[in-house]
């Protein structure tokens, strides 16, 4: 048997072993399937950053036709009128108990002032415990009130010149949160498993002592680690396919505008290179529990700095620099580019290169540490 075919046989045997071991671990398998299906489904359908049916109350002191007209403009899908409140105190209570998100107070004389064409006021109280929703509610309500004001003025006088803003929404025409959230969650899940699975597979050998048995056999450290990473990459790609074709496309209509093969090829590259972080963790950890905690430590900054939750532009300047050290940052650019924007790989080269550079460095570091520890 020549050297190359021996090398391949050893790799094949190890590869088969890794897949078998994973196949026997029912709990881990169930967790993988859950993460790539149910978890992504929940993230895509449950988490929404849109204002929907905000609970709205009106404290109408004026009782004029104008005040009724204004209140009636707070309509679904954004707002849901729940009823009237009799007093200021009732308004406070509704807000602090959480029954109301918005309370619109129309003061006495509102209708008369409008009819006379004099400036007048309404009061809007918004619960902004959830900053995003509160901000949205306040600005939508402001728009409604402003438009009402303009129209009332229009009715009496000659029209003023108005600039009309016509918005075109690209890449996600219905502005579906489910697309963004679903894909983000998929990328997070891919990241978590690409670090966790190789770390677990490597540290399990250490824990059981089987690593020694492998080291005395004619295997190089690369031959021990490579099959782990390859088999886990395969599993994660299968999970990704399940999530894309089993959840995101049929349930949420995610378009997959760009090349699907290119997406899978780049995902494979991402998983393979991120595994380096997992191998690093495995060389430090002594048992599975330690490896688990270490991977959390590695994953947290990777996820926070990726831009999945906060765009780098919104971060403090010094922190934004570090986003370039999260491989997920590049992978997110690539994935949204391919799945939503329909970009070609050619246009994504800078991101691909950045991801490869980081991943290769991590993989090399993991291999080197492993070699030093056991070589």
């Amino acid at each position: 048997m020549n050297a190359l075919s021996l090398w391949c046989l050893q790799l094949k045997v190890m590869f088969g072993k890794e897949l078998r071991q994973l196949g026997r671990d029912r709990v881990l398998l169930a967790f993988i399937v859950y993460a790539f299906t149910v978890d992504i489904f929940l993230a895509a359908s449950g988490v929404s950053l849109q204002l929907k049916l905000a609970s709205t109350y009106v404290e109408d002191v004026d009782h004029s036709s104008a005040s009724r007209e204004l209140a009636s403009r707070f309509l679904p899908p954004y707002f849901q009128l729940q009823g009237e409140l009799a007093s200021e105190r009732a308004a406070d209570a509704a807000l602090s108990s959480g029954r109301a998100m918005l309370v619109l107070t129309v003061p006495a004389g509102f209708g008369e002032d409008l009819a006379r064409g004099e400036p007048t006021h309404v009061q809007l109280q918004v619960d902004t415990s959830n900053a995003v929703l509160g901000f949205l509610a306040a600005s939508y309500a402001e728009q409604i009130v402003a438009r009402f004001g303009l129209e009332t003025v229009d009715a009496g006088k000659t029209p003023l010149p108005v600039i009309e803003n016509r918005t075109r929404v690209w890449f996600n025409p219905n502005q579906e949160d489910s697309w963004f959230m679903g894909i983000s969650e998929l990328l997070n899940v891919i990241t978590i498993f690409s670090v966790l699975l190789p770390a677990a597979a490597a540290v399990r050998e250490k824990e059981r002592g089987t690593i020694e048995q492998l080291l005395v056999s004619p295997l190089t450290p690369l031959q021990i680690l490579l099959p782990k990473v390859l088999s886990m990459t395969l599993v994660i790609l299968a999970g990704t396919a399940l999530a894309l074709f089993g959840v995101l496309r049929p349930c949420f209509g995610v378009p997959m505008a760009g090349s699907v093969p290119a997406f899978f090829a780049l995902t494979a590259l991402y998983v393979f290179t991120s595994a380096g972080f997992g191998l690093l963790a495995a060389t430090v950890a002594r048992n599975l529990a330690q490896a688990g905690m270490l991977t959390i430590l590695i994953l947290a900054p990777m996820l926070f700095l990726s831009g999945a939750w906060t765009p780098p532009e919104a971060m403090p300047e010094w922190l934004a620099v570090f986003t370039h050290f999260s491989p997920l940052y590049y992978f997110i650019n690539i994935s949204f580019g391919l799945l939503l924007k329909g970009q070609t790989v050619a246009a994504l080269w800078p991101s691909v290169l950045g991801m490869m550079a980081l991943g290769m460095a991590a993989f090399a570091a993991g291999l080197l540490r492993f070699r030093r520890q056991f070589g």
């Binding site: 190890m14 071991q21 002592g209 048995q213 005395v216 004619p218």
Partner: protein, 634 residues
């Protein structure tokens, strides 16, 4: 009749579907050191936890101090009178606390008044010789010291009954002897009752009474002589010229035949010494001749194995016959040449040289940290030596990986793979061709007796079968050299003997060179040649027999003193200047150069019998290491 401390009747415990203990009846008397002996999984721990009141049981009755332990409230009331030391080195202690802080913590936990706690602590730390280490964090203690500290913490509230679960497992032989000595003193002095378990058969003699447990049942119980009487017989040993053939001839007639280096040791049930010796001689002479016949009374382990196995089926280890073993003339298979390894300033191994020939079983002995594992790692090519080198079958150790077999501690198998998947994995890793892979799979399955279990997960095998599977995996590529790192821990004695039969055949018939590292001295007896390591160096290199002879020359022969007044004889011996006395159950062991003087003292004292005992490798090891430690300490 002394008062009963523990009385179990029909005791049973199950975990889910598995019956861990069934129908155990035993009684422990006040002031008694009672032993539970059995391999892993025999049910010892379950019984002990129930006695300590920390485990509920399912059937039968269990009374401790006359209190029914089935009722939680009642069990709670006797807990103050019990001390439990669970299994595992320092398992009940806190690694970051110092020796003294650990003891103080347990005293506070048990609400011992300060003045009493202080007095007891000083006394116990003194007895266990831990007083000098009181400020040292527990995790930096050696295994033996951890166990002694565990004992101190168990005794700090002055319990009347202590329950020690395998206190000597994983502890080196010197510390083990030390531990037993201290325990025997404390039991005698304070009128303690103790229930102690062990997986080492050779520790059985330490107990006044014992129960032998196997698979959840008690096979036998009583005093040592009562148990010996269950399978009366003699042990004959000889050095045959053609060991393989002689072994086959004996194995056809006797269930228990062991190869110990060049010797054969046979247990002949039912016959007295002379009759047994001539019966063995008849069989051996038919298969060549033999020299150096010796015989003695059966040991507890022989009886245990006979009881465990019912009747052990004769093994076919010598079947393939022919090839006479001649380790002395064969070519060298393993050569270590001035091997050395440093980790920073620490010298783990220095200037280690030895040679193992084809067909030889070579034992590398030493306490934990003596450098055995580092030496074996260098020879297997895992760890590059700092200086020196070695050759395996004439090839430099840097390039030997495909030529050697290695079986590591704890049988590192993939538990989530089946038996045949494990074998195929290693066959593939060593690059065996397809046809060869199939052939070797069959061979390993047959050798390990696992034909019907090929598709069973390794995790479901009992330890003995796991061990043989691990051996099979190490042998799958037909290595000429096999390294075994503490290969029989946790395996029951029957499995252990079957395992050594396989090793015997490998060395004698197939001519494989075996290097075994161990701190189980009973394993050392099987080796043709031994090297004793201490602090990274080889301090003795000889055959087991030669080592024993040398010790006898230096310190004298080993005598056992038994009889009603045996324990009272100890101070007499000390007064006469005969040191090195150790307590074994109700008898004493003493090393003495002047047998006549000992006999005279004994007849003067009266009520004791003196009988010569065969030195074991453990005696050799402990005495040598103690001497070296004394030297190093100076």
């Amino acid at each position: 009749m002394d008062a009963l401390v523990i009385r179990a009747d029909g005791f049973g415990k199950r975990y889910g579907k598995r019956q861990a203990v069934s129908d155990v009846s035993l009684a422990v008397r006040k002031g008694e050191l009672f032993g539970l002996i059995g391999p892993d999984g025999a049910g010892k721990s379950s019984l002990m936890k129930a006695v300590a009141g920390v485990l509920r049981y399912d059937s039968g009755t269990l009374e401790v101090f006359g209190t029914d332990m089935a009722r939680d409230a009642a069990a709670e009331s006797v807990k103050a009178r019990i001390g439990l030391m669970p299994q595992g080195l320092g398992q009940n202690l806190y690694g970051d606390l110092s020796v003294e802080e650990n003891v103080d913590f347990f005293a506070k936990l048990r609400l011992v008044p300060d003045a009493q706690a202080r007095a007891r602590k000083e006394k116990l730390l003194g007895v266990t010789r831990l007083a000098d280490f009181r400020a040292r964090p527990m995790k930096q203690l050696s295994g033996g010291m951890k166990q002694k500290l565990g004992l101190v913490c168990t005794l700090i509230h002055a319990p009347e009954l202590i329950v020690l679960d395998e206190p000597t497992t994983g502890v080196d032989p010197v510390s083990r002897r030390d531990f037993w000595q201290i325990l025997a003193e404390l039991v005698a002095e304070q009128g303690l009752s103790a229930l102690v378990s062990t997986a080492y058969m050779d520790e059985a003699s330490r107990f006044a009474r014992m129960a032998l447990m196997h698979e959840g049942r008690v096979l036998a119980q009583g005093q040592p002589h009562e148990i010996l009487a269950l399978r009366a017989g003699s042990v004959v040993s000889c050095v045959p010229q053609e060991q393989v053939r002689a072994r086959a001839a004996l194995a056809a007639n006797y269930a228990q035949v062991e190869a110990l280096g060049p010797c054969l040791r046979v247990f002949v049930p039912g016959l007295a010494r002379e009759a047994a010796e001539s019966a063995v001689a008849r069989l051996v002479d038919a298969a060549g001749s033999a020299t150096a016949y010796d015989s003695g009374e059966a040991e507890l382990e022989d009886v245990f194995v006979a009881l465990l196995a019912g009747s052990l089926a004769p093994t076919d280890a010598g079947e393939a016959a022919a090839v006479p073993a001649a380790p002395g003339k064969a070519s060298p298979a393993i050569e270590a040449i001035s091997l050395a390894r440093r980790f920073g300033d620490f010298v783990a191994v220095s200037d280690v040289s030895f040679t193992v020939r084809e067909g030889e079983i070579f034992g590398l002995l030493g306490a934990n940290g003596a450098g055995k594992t580092t030496a074996i790692k260098m020879l297997t090519g895992i760890l590059p030596p700092s200086s020196g080198g070695g050759r395996i079958a004439g090839v430099d150790i840097a390039r030997v990986k495909s030529r050697i077999g290695y079986m590591s501690q704890a049988f590192s198998l993939y538990l989530d793979l089946t038996v045949s998947e494990n074998i195929r994995l290693y066959a593939g890793l060593y690059g065996l061709s397809r046809a060869e892979r199939a052939a070797r799979l069959d061979w390993v399955l047959e050798m390990a007796g696992l034909q019907t279990l090929a598709d069973t997960l390794a995790a479901e095998l009992p330890m003995g079968q796991r061990q043989r599977l691990a051996l099979g995996c190490a042998l799958v590529h037909r290595p000429r050299v096999l390294f075994l790192d503490e290969p029989t821990s946790g395996v029951d004695p029957v499995g252990r003997r079957a395992f050594w039969d396989v090793l015997f055949k490998l060395s004698r018939v197939d001519g494989v060179a075996l290097l075994v590292t161990t701190h189980y001295m009973s394993e050392a007896e099987h080796c043709d040649h031994l090297a004793l390591m201490f602090a990274g160096r080889i301090v003795a290199d000889a055959t087991p027999q030669a080592m024993k002879v040398a010790l006898e020359h230096d310190l004298g022969a080993l005598y056992e003193i038994s009889g009603e007044k045996a324990l009272a004889f100890a101070p007499v011996l000390a007064a006469a200047g005969l040191g090195g006395v150790s307590v074994h159950g109700r008898s004493l062991h003493v090393l003495c150069r002047d047998g006549a003087r000992l006999a005279a003292l004994a007849s003067e004292h009266g009520g004791v019998r003196v009988r010569a005992r065969v030195l074991t490798m453990e005696d050799v090891f402990v005495e040598r290491v103690r001497a070296l430690e004394k030297e190093a300490g100076r």
